[in-house]
């Protein structure tokens, strides 16, 4: 009870709905939500089945394949993306350390998760970002939605995700994607909107149709910004896999969660560092790749 300084009741405690009303409201919404989910559970399962299959396939591939093969594949991807020897060597060292400390299989599980999450985030984010760049009205609608997605504590939207999709990998994946997709959308939008207006006018003047403008001018010229979005998306999904472990995602995140609940200092840090190592590998590779795409911006004349 607040002190009232002799004020009337209405000025003292903020007038709120009665606890009975609030309880009824909560029950109504939660119950209704649950009923809807139960009614549609078949549809929801069917819709998420391909995602589940893909995720399982990739995870089996990563954890099941002999480690030298996986290592060579990862190093090859890093080389293809970055074309930097130092990044490849750093990656090799990180992978060896991860293996030595017994985190190989958990790391592969996390890697599979992040790979799928990033892919899904790009598949959702790129078209939404393009739409957002094309329509001011859509931008006005989507911007606040993205604000909410980015600021709403991730634990809060884990609740409806669990109610709808239950416990497991796919709900975890969905939570990760919700968290990681906003930068992809925003930076795609920004990249396209920042394309020089004069170049767009030139494309118009030569009779380019909207598709030719998008694929021939807008996307190539906004690629560096879009790559920054991909980079951000990867970083955010890596940080989110720890939280997603609360709804049943395995891998490094699960170990961290166990370490928190049991106060296993060493386990916590080892797994944490493994996540950091992967994050750095992803980051350096995708950034170097983004930079290579801007070859044409190098100024060579005096």
């Amino acid at each position: 009870m607040a002190e009232c300084w002799g004020l009337p009741e209405l000025m003292c405690n903020f007038p709120q709905l009665s606890s009975g009303t609030l309880r009824a409201m909560r029950k109504g919404i939660d119950g209704g939500f649950r009923d809807i989910v139960r009614q549609w559970s078949d549809v929801i399962d069917a819709a998420t089945a391909p995602l589940q299959l893909f995720l399982n396939f990739l995870e089996d591939l990563f954890t099941g394949a002999p480690w030298p093969l996986v290592m060579i594949a990862v190093l090859a991807v890093v080389w293809a993306g970055s074309r930097q020897l130092k990044t490849v060597i750093g990656t090799a060292i990180a992978l060896v350390l991860i293996g030595v400390f017994g985190l190989w299989s958990d790391t592969m599980t996390t890697l599979a998760m992040v790979a799928v999450a990033t892919l899904v985030a790009i598949l959702i984010g790129l078209p939404l970002g393009i739409l957002m760049a094309r329509s001011n009205r859509f931008q006005a609608f989507l911007s606040p939605v993205l604000d909410v997605m980015q600021t709403l504590p991730s634990f809060v939207y884990l609740i409806p995700v669990v109610v709808i999709f239950g416990i497991g990998k796919v709900p975890g994946l969905i939570a990760v994607v919700i968290y990681a997709v906003p930068p992809m959308i925003r930076l795609t939008n920004l990249g396209i909107r920042l394309v020089d207006r004069e170049v767009i006018e030139a494309a118009d003047a030569f009779g380019a149709d909207p598709r030719q403008k998008l694929w021939g001018v807008q996307l190539p010229l906004s690629l560096p910004t879009i790559m920054t979005g991909v980079n951000q998306t990867i970083m955010m999904s890596l940080s989110m896999v720890v939280v997603a472990s609360m709804v049943g995602v395995g891998g490094l995140g699960k170990n961290v969660l166990q370490a928190i609940t049991n106060q296993y200092f060493t386990v916590g840090f080892l797994n944490g560092f493994a996540l950091v190592a992967i994050a750095i590998v992803f980051d350096r590779t995708s950034q170097a790749f983004g930079k290579r795409l801007q070859k044409h911006t190098e100024v060579a004349h005096d």
Binding site: A205, F206, G207, G216, A300
Partner: protein
């Protein structure tokens, strides 16, 4: 072989009729009142709309260079964008080959732009992620011409504008003058009848500019395209234009040949006020003593003539900005220059 001149007579020019452009949130509301005589000021002050173009009537003959000249804000860039439909007018018609460009929409307008027009921009507007070659064949790419067919065409034009050897360079590896050559090659590779040049040479420094003007005139000798050239520079207009239209505050002020514009100026756009003394200075002959009276080279002819008349001299030494003598100017040369177009140096 058909005679290009005969051919040009049978080709269609561009007819601009009663063109109005009002900028603002609701231009349609005011067009009637503007036609009935509402002034630009009233429209701006009371209704917060800008009258960009007012009752433009202009014939741009086929196979000729028509220059549209005006200061910045006169509406010249707005006007040229009506010819290929980049800007829609509030009222009026732009006729080409019997069709009204204004009425064209979507695919029809794109087809018109792809096949009938090409444009060169003040700031080049090249595609930075494409090489010189890829930029040059951009218009053909858009039209769906296969690369095997487009490449030889593009290479030929790159050679014509003097950029051989730079095919694989990216635009920002080139200097401004070279970039605009790419812009010109890109426009010419389109092989369109209408060439729109929006202050195409204004961003270039004077020597390169003169160079490009020469290139354009040489090409035009042979190509006989219908060229619309926008500029704010009278010298450039006189050098290039078969006819010149002067635009001021969104209204056509005068249309005529270079000579008409100079001899019977509708207003103070006057050679004496735009040509600088340094352009007419001739070098001192061997052993000739420089005249004692001195004038600043960056002064315009009218001012220099007044100074010389006041001093009662017929000859003067021309100084550059650092005060160094660059040559001699005499009153006869000044008089000639103020009447007939000066030779390009």
């Amino acid at each position: 072989m058909t005679d290009p001149l005969e051919d040009a007579r049978q080709r269609s020019g561009i007819e601009i009729r009663h063109l109005y452009k009002i900028f603002g949130t609701n231009p349609g509301r005011f067009i009637k009142r503007v036609k009935e005589g509402m002034t630009k000021e009233e429209l701006n002050d009371r209704h917060n709309h800008v009258l960009g173009l007012q009752d433009i009537n202009l014939s741009l003959p086929p196979g000729e260079i028509s220059v549209i000249m005006g200061l910045s804000g006169s509406g010249k860039s707005t006007l040229i964008r009506h010819i290929n439909g980049l800007i829609e007018p509030t009222a009026g018609e732009v006729l080409y080959e019997g069709r009204d460009v204004v009425a064209m929409k979507g695919a029809e307008l794109r087809e018109f732009r792809r096949t009938k027009t090409a444009m060169v921009f003040q700031k080049f507007a090249l595609l930075p992620h494409r090489t010189v070659l890829e930029n040059t064949l951009y218009g053909l790419d858009i039209r769906g011409v296969p690369r095997a067919e487009a490449e030889p065409v593009a290479r030929a034009w790159i050679e014509r504008v003097g950029l051989s050897g730079f095919e694989e360079n990216y635009p920002n590896q080139l200097s401004g003058g070279m970039q605009q050559r790419v812009g010109l090659a890109r426009a010419l590779a389109n092989d369109a009848d209408i060439l729109l040049m929006d202050e195409a040479f204004s961003a270039l420094d004077p020597l390169i500019r003169m160079d490009m003007q020469k290139v354009l005139l040489e090409l035009q000798q042979e190509l006989q395209k219908t060229i619309i050239f926008i500029t704010h520079d009278l010298d450039e207009a006189l050098r290039l234009g078969d006819s010149i239209a002067i635009l001021r505050d969104g209204k056509l002020e005068q249309v005529g040949t270079g000579q008409d514009i100079v001899l019977r100026p509708a207003n103070d756009v006057n050679r004496g006020r735009v040509i600088r003394a340094s352009r007419l200075a001739r070098p001192l002959a061997e052993g000739e003593a420089p005249p004692e009276f001195r004038v600043d080279g960056y002064r315009v002819l009218e001012r220099v003539a007044r100074e010389m008349a006041a001093a009662g001299v017929a000859q003067a030494t021309v100084l550059d900005r650092k005060g160094v003598a660059t040559g001699v100017i005499d009153s006869e040369a000044i008089l000639n220059a103020m009447v007939t177009p000066a030779e390009a140096p």
